[in-house]
Subunit: 186 residues, 2 copies
Amino acid sequence: MKFCPECGAAVELRRPPDDNRERHICTACAAIHYHNPKLVVGTIPEWEDGRILLCRRAIEPRHGLWTLPAGFMENGETTLEGAARETLEEANARVEMGELYALFNLAHINQVQLLFRARLLDLDFSPGTESLEVRLFDESDIPWDELAFRPVRYTLQDYFSDRKAGCFQFRITSLEPPVKPAQPAN
Amino acid sequence: MKFCPECGAAVELRRPPDDNRERHICTACAAIHYHNPKLVVGTIPEWEDGRILLCRRAIEPRHGLWTLPAGFMENGETTLEGAARETLEEANARVEMGELYALFNLAHINQVQLLFRARLLDLDFSPGTESLEVRLFDESDIPWDELAFRPVRYTLQDYFSDRKAGCFQFRITSLEPPVKPAQPAN
């Protein structure tokens, strides 16, 4: 941020009184502009035979790799509505929302991801504009080496493990930046 | 938003290609500026005798009313770190973070609130700059008519009820805008 979104004057980085960190403050109107983490919301859509719906990404980052339907939460919606909307947008898929299953802290990219269990309501799905392909996968067919993001991998691993154990358990996971360039981003 | 934070030119509200809602787009550099919900993170700090730590607000909104320590999550931290930081800032209180206890969707104000169970580590607490007073309350002493926000009220009600039942249960609650001006804000 270089300019004030409200008046167009230059901003400077300065610590406001009674604050403990620097903020972008307008040099003309004195407005303080805060920058906060963003929420990514998505689903683990399960069909009645146990298969899981994944989307192959048509956009960067990680073009061509597989992911769970998820995306940035929008203003004016709930986390559940956002997750269902992303599932509809990316996979043209209708779901009945279930419980919150995973929360990922990605502090290095200022993101919190929430993934919900979801029941896929019909087989009338197809790629949305951000997907190349949408498919149901058995556990044994999951393309583990072609998953787009670490939260997708960890969530699927936990999900299948919990499902086998007969008990889904909500987890919070905090991820550090990927250490090797070869690792999935995010 | 009236001006582009990157180049200072005017922005206009327009739907970008491949998007389904209007965004603020710069008329000069074409940057698209997204606005997303903010996360509020906080704790339910419990002392070893079962009392809960509340803060009386020294700031608007709801100046003078009681709340759980909570505030806007900052970039570069996890939800757990943010909740612990807010507890330290508002109550100068150190906690051991516990499980996620409540998620509130407040779509009308573009907010998601996350409240965590937490164990208060010592009695060396005091009002931070945003608090007038910080106190431990027995369930029977909670100032129910002087609570600042609905999520605080609902969380405390559920918390005491769950504690009596011997089982804390994570809940997601979506709140509509308050109907009567007399109701607590938020």
